[in-house]
């Protein structure tokens, strides 16, 4: 993992991830560079069942790729497979 300058970010959880985490919001300080790196750390910490490859990512309410560079103040959402309709 390539570390970068620590930044404060928010993680919002929905559906299966919200239930597995037990809360709907985390505020954390991280040196992770990308959403994927953040997810891998959180997955180890909280035992999330989903692999990163099955998730989509949103940053500040826009879809972004998993290797998008995070910046201070970002709100990140990991989106499990959707099932509307």
């Amino acid at each position: 993992m390539i570390m970068s300058k620590p930044k404060k970010i928010k993680i919002q959880y929905f559906a299966i991830l919200r239930e597995e985490r037990g809360v709907d919001l985390d505020e954390l300080e991280t040196s992770a560079r990308t959403p994927e790196e953040v997810y891998e750390t959180l997955k180890d910490q909280h035992g999330f069942s989903m692999s990163f490859k099955n998730l989509r990512v949103a940053i500040n309410d826009e879809f972004e790729s998993g290797d998008h560079e995070l910046k201070d103040g970002d709100t990140v959402v990991f989106i499990p497979p959707v099932a509307g309709g």
Binding site: F14, A15, M50, A58, I79, P80, V82, G85
Partner: protein, 147 residues
């Protein structure tokens, strides 16, 4: 236009909201909560959504349909919260001059909603079990207990 609703949908009002003097066709699609899925007896469903992104992505899909099929108007509403069997979960309505493009656009809208809009569905089964649809297959526990 696309929106999320936490209260029951009223199809007749939604139909009327699309009325337009040059429209010769209205095609609607209603998605209902059914009592079974993949071999399980379903007693209720719960929809959860990431509202800001769902609204944005849903709106984008409706606009794409209007541009792609040359229809007059289109609208879709998705319910969230706990729904019972038989309840209306999603409504799509499309108006156009002639029926062909209205059918195509309605199909496009519902197909894209199912693929792209961040809405999740939790099924409650008669057995007392529950589960998030489409999520068990890709978890690391996949294949252990879903037969």
């Amino acid at each position: 236009m696309f929106f999320i609703s936490s209260i029951p949908l009223k199809p007749e009002e939604l139909n009327r909201s699309l009325s337009h003097p040059s429209a010769g066709a209205l095609v609607t699609f209603e998605g209902w909560v059914r009592n079974h899925n993949e071999g399980h007896d379903v007693s209720a469903l719960e929809y959860e959504c990431y509202e800001k992104l769902a609204a944005k992505e849903g709106e984008k899909i409706v606009k794409e349909a209007i541009a792609k099929f040359g229809i007059i108007g289109a609208k879709s509403v998705h319910r969230v919260g706990k729904l019972e069997v038989g309840e209306l979960a999603v409504w799509v309505g499309v108006t156009s001059k002639h029926r062909a493009e209205a059918f195509q656009a309605a199909q496009y809208i519902i197909d894209e909603i199912k693929l792209r809009v961040p809405i999740w569905k939790k099924e409650y089964y008669k057995s007392g079990d529950s589960g998030w649809v489409n999520c068990h297959r890709c978890s690391s526990h996949a294949g252990q207990s879903h037969s």
